[in-house]
């Protein structure tokens, strides 16, 4: 009798768990007259209010899934059935990789009149010459956040984050290209270093960083700064802006060595069954007013110059929200590396985390 009760309870708790797990996908099957659109985007990067506005205006049902690293996204898109996602939001180097693997559809610019709102300097990027496959969304830098109440030493560069006084007190992105790139920069090397001898040095330097890092977090690294668990860190610039609003003693520093930069873009997958809806979405999000709604919530560096005008001075003069031009000019982007070099990077990362 008792045993049956136990079995019943176990089954019940298992069912409860699986129901929690499946909730999202059930809804996804429902579609209305205008069809649907499957977005696969970064976490904390696209406000729900904007998606709701789009649904109201167009009658298209939007399903949003999220990821927290470019590599996760690539792995997921490859493992899902073709056409599971219509629109992706890859960063610069990942756009190039997706193009080279033939995974993207060319954009139809006749359906994207709002492309005119994008600033000239953001058009025709090196990773997608002529914007054949992508339009820029938002970007930023892996900048340094410092809580000046808690840190006495002056922090000006990535190299300062290796200072022994910060032991167990910093948060960095859980992203191997960002962290290894930052370490290379601290040694005066390239963000995309490939020289094996130099990478040996970087690997040794990473061990110094290991002592200082309390937390690896890409989803919401600001929380550890706000709660006071960490006093400094290398995190997304806009996350610093949000942390500054909560804790005034937090400051943003663009490293002297030149920051790690990223820019995320809208692209459409090759097998997208909802190509027209995808175009409607991309055009919608390039509308300055809608883009301003995004910036209200997630104040990243924005390619949409007309949206920046709507946001006014509060946005454009805040260095964490709108990184100064010289910081952008000095910084560098992550580039694709050969698979041999990537293996070395992965080994270094495993060593750091063991």
């Amino acid at each position: 009798m008792k045993k049956k009760l136990i079995a019943a309870l176990m089954v019940l708790s298992l069912t409860a768990m699986s129901i929690v797990g499946c909730g999202g996908s059930e809804e996804a099957a429902v579609s209305e007259g205008k069809g649907e659109l499957n977005l696969f985007v970064w976490t904390e990067y696209l406000p729900d209010s904007v998606v709701e506005k789009f649904e109201e205006e167009t009658g298209i049902k939007v399903n949003v899934s999220t990821y927290s690293s470019n590599e996760d996204m690539l792995a997921k898109v490859k493992s899902e059935t073709a056409g599971a996602y219509d629109v992706l939001q890859p960063s610069d180097y990942m756009v190039a990789q997706l193009i080279s693997q033939g995974m993207l559809a060319e954009l139809d610019f006749e359906k994207l009149p709002n492309f005119s709102h994008i600033g000239e300097s953001y058009k025709d990027p090196s990773y997608d010459p002529g914007n054949k496959y992508s339009v820029p969304y938002m970007g930023g830098a892996g900048a340094i956040a410092v809580n000046t109440d808690k840190v006495d030493s002056e922090i000006k560069s990535y190299a300062d984050l290796f200072d022994p006084s910060l032991e167990g007190d910093i948060v960095v992105l859980d992203d191997f290209r960002a962290v290894i790139g930052m370490t290379s920069k601290a040694l005066g090397y390239d963000l995309n270093e490939t020289d094996p001898a130099k990478l040996e040095e970087v690997s040794a330097k990473l061990m110094e960083l290991k002592k200082n890092v309390a937390l690896y977090d890409s989803d919401s690294p600001k929380s550890a700064l706000i709660s006071g668990d960490c006093s400094a860190g290398m995190i997304w610039s806009a996350e610093i802006a949000m942390a500054m609003e909560e804790v005034p003693s937090i400051e943003v520093v663009y490293p002297e060595e030149g920051a790690y930069l990223f820019f995320d873009n809208w692209v459409v997958t090759k097998d997208s069954p909802n190509y027209d809806n995808a175009m409607t979405w991309i055009n919608f999000i390039m509308d300055p007013e809608n883009m301003a709604m995004v910036l209200e919530e997630f104040p990243y560096l924005c390619a949409n110059t007309d949206a920046i005008e709507i946001m006014g001075d509060e946005y454009s003069t805040n260095p964490a929200k709108n990184p100064p031009a010289d910081a952008i000019a000095k910084g560098s982007y992550v580039e694709n590396l050969s698979s041999d070099t990537l293996d070395v990077y992965n080994e270094m990362w495993t060593k750091l985390k063991e």
């Binding site: 708790s13 409860a16 309390a214």
Partner: protein
């Protein structure tokens, strides 16, 4: 094959050793906490027994990920624990509880104690009360009764509890990510990374095979020692 030879590199062996250690600590702590707990539940009168039993089950109804995030804000620098300790003047400055190996073990124990309590409860429940009476009638002190009568008779429960804690513990990756801050990888983290960010599926698959072999080995060991598969709930 090349991937299997890679598995023998020092880095991976270290991670394996650490995962084993963390799982072992978790298992031992689960036995120490779970055993008295299960004993009390099994020995109380039927009404309150149901209630105690439910108290073990109910936390299961919340997703474990959410519960682990709860621990994170509880233990954080501005969390309740630090505030309470400061209020009681036990500590002056905030102490870092988070992002340590100990925190990972704490989270693991918290997640897995019910898996230990349930098989122990079944085992202890089957224990015949008259044997305990006989033991004390024959002059054994309670201490002796515990080690010579109760523990041997419930050993199958202890063993199946250990298996149910140790094995999933090896593969749990989010606890060490959230409470350990991602500083110390476990096998689970390593496998997860091969499939996601490192995008090296063959290596990830090889790593998983090792984990499966390890599991099979433990289950075989359990059978060898006379364990009943039914007690494992399989």
């Amino acid at each position: 094959m090349e991937n299997f030879s890679k598995l023998l590199s020092v880095d991976y062996l270290k991670i394996y050793a650490r995962s084993m250690l963390i799982s072992l600590m978790t298992t031992v702590l689960c036995v120490l906490i779970g055993y008295p707990f299960a004993y009390v539940i099994a020995r109380t009168k039927s009404k309150s027994r149901q209630l105690l039993y439910m108290l073990v089950i109910i936390p299961f109804w919340t997703n474990s990920l959410i519960r682990i995030y709860g621990w994170r804000s509880f233990l954080g620098n501005s969390g309740w624990l630090v505030k309470a300790l400061q209020y009681l003047h036990i500590i002056q400055e905030p102490v870092d509880f988070l992002y340590k190996t100990g925190t990972t073990v704490l989270g693991m124990v918290y997640c897995f104690v019910p898996f230990m309590v349930l098989p122990l409860y079944t085992a202890i429940e089957k224990l015949d009360g008259s044997l305990l009476e006989a033991s004390s009638d024959l002059g054994a002190r309670p201490f002796h009764t515990l080690f010579e009568v109760i523990l041997p008779l419930t050993s199958s429960g202890i063993f199946s509890g250990c298996i149910m804690v140790f094995i999933p513990c090896l593969g749990y990756f989010f606890v060490s990510n959230i409470l350990g801050g991602g500083n110390t990888d476990m096998i689970g983290n390593l496998i997860e990374r091969q499939f996601k960010s490192a995008n090296n599926w063959p290596l990830g698959a090889a790593l998983s095979i090792i984990l499966i072999l390890l599991t099979l080995l433990l289950v075989k060991l359990y059978q060898k020692l006379g364990g009943d598969m039914e007690n494992l709930g399989v």
